[in-house]
């Protein structure tokens, strides 16, 4: 029942997710989110006006430096919904980093997607790398204009 309602209200559910991801004023991070990162791959001509669906496509987030290394993700948006997240860069300096990345990054991806479907406002229990992940994802979503 709830799932059906959420599907019908997918746009507003996405808005809820985005509100939860979006630091309305990033804590001193505006600069590095504004610079860096590659251009959105589907090359939308401009940011869509507020209230309309963003263009479908995959948007690359800014690389975000964490204590453990750089994290960068790309977000795929379809009909105003976040449908996939691809990890482009993750800390991999040593075996431990690789082990953590192999474990944590798919989990974070699923979390971002299930956060969407569960219509939650925030997730408790994440830290470090996930913060970089979320910042990079947020910047990808910003590029998508959603």
């Amino acid at each position: 029942m709830r799932r059906a309602v959420l599907t019908a209200a997918s746009t507003s559910a996405l808005v809820v997710l985005l509100l939860s991801l979006k630091p309305h004023q990033p804590a001193g991070l505006t600069g590095d989110l504004a610079q860096g990162g590659s251009a959105p791959s589907p090359s939308p001509t401009s940011r869509p006006p507020h209230g309309t669906h963003p263009a479908n496509g995959t948007y690359t987030g800014a690389p975000v430096d964490t204590q453990y290394g750089t994290v960068q993700v790309a977000a795929t948006v379809h009909a105003g919904r976040l449908t996939a997240v691809k990890v482009l860069h993750a800390p991999s300096d040593n075996g431990r980093d690789q082990e953590i990345a192999a474990y944590a990054l798919p989990r974070l991806t699923q979390e971002a997607l299930s956060a969407h479907s569960a219509a939650i406002d925030a997730v408790s229990g994440a830290s470090y790398t996930s913060a970089g992940y979320i910042r990079s994802l947020q910047s990808a979503l910003d590029r998508a204009g959603v």
Binding site: Q25, P26, A27, Y103, A104, E111, I120, S124, I134
Partner: protein
């Protein structure tokens, strides 16, 4: 503090709220400068090395150390700022700084906010008129799942666990990493105590269940290493998972 903070403000954007947001961000930077154990020149680093005394530190340092002592007593020593042999109050500072940042916003008229310090949350008011906040708790074992969703108004939610960065909490009694629980979530009103209690409960392992059950004003939920879960009687979570 090696983590990221975010602010989610659901109130109308007024000049007073925007100004308070700037103050809250400045406050967090100030706390980082005073308390960071990553910065060799922070007052807390210098205090830990014995270069300066407590009297030469900003007044905030004494406030935090007093809080640490109080929490240490309340947790029978399971919350400790000296577990690794040095002086490291960062286990309490983050929750305390986040809670105060939320107070800065509230004083300016932002009554419905979520301040997030690396996955530990101080929530004020509600998410939308008539709608409580819904907070997913990351599942420590199952990639892609939330293990429960906490719902409520004016609450603090903190989760302590090893899922992401390996064992990072030490048993203050033995100095070795603790391994009994995969994660424990504590819900209370004040993130200062809620976060520190989550850390302590995680260090306690199986013993955390009885301790949390007897604690006024706080509720707990845990995922054990074997995947089993338990929660205290009044835990405001959705039974059986988020969906």
């Amino acid at each position: 503090m090696g983590t990221v903070f975010s602010f989610d403000i659901r109130d109308a954007r007024t000049p007073a709220v925007e100004s308070a947001l700037g103050d809250a961000v400045a406050w967090l930077h100030h706390v980082d400068a005073v308390f960071s154990t990553y910065r060799a020149d922070s007052p807390v680093s210098r205090l830990a090395r014995g270069e300066i005394g407590l009297g030469e530190c900003p007044a905030l340092v004494r406030e935090v150390l007093d809080l640490c002592e109080r929490v240490g007593h309340a947790t029978d020593g399971w919350f400790s700022i000296t577990a690794n042999g040095g002086l490291d109050p960062t286990g309490l500072v983050k929750g305390w700084a986040v809670e105060r940042a939320a107070q800065i916003l509230r004083a300016a008229g932002a009554h419905h906010t979520c301040v997030n310090g690396g996955g530990d949350l101080q929530l004020s008011g509600e998410a939308a008129p008539g709608m409580p906040w819904r907070i997913g708790i990351a599942h420590p074992h199952r990639p892609g799942d939330l293990c429960t969703v906490v719902t409520g108004r004016d609450l603090a939610v903190a989760t302590s666990g090893t899922a992401e960065r390996g064992a990072h909490i030490l048993d203050p009694h033995t100095g070795t990493p603790v391994t009994g629980l995969a994660s424990v979530t504590v819900v209370g009103r004040s993130l200062t105590t809620t976060d520190a209690y989550a850390t302590a409960a995680f260090a306690m392992g199986a013993g955390a269940r009885d301790w949390l059950a007897g604690l006024d004003g706080h509720e707990g939920f845990a995922v054990a290493r074997d995947g089993g879960t338990w929660h205290t009687r009044g835990f405001p979570g959705t039974p059986g998972g988020p969906r």
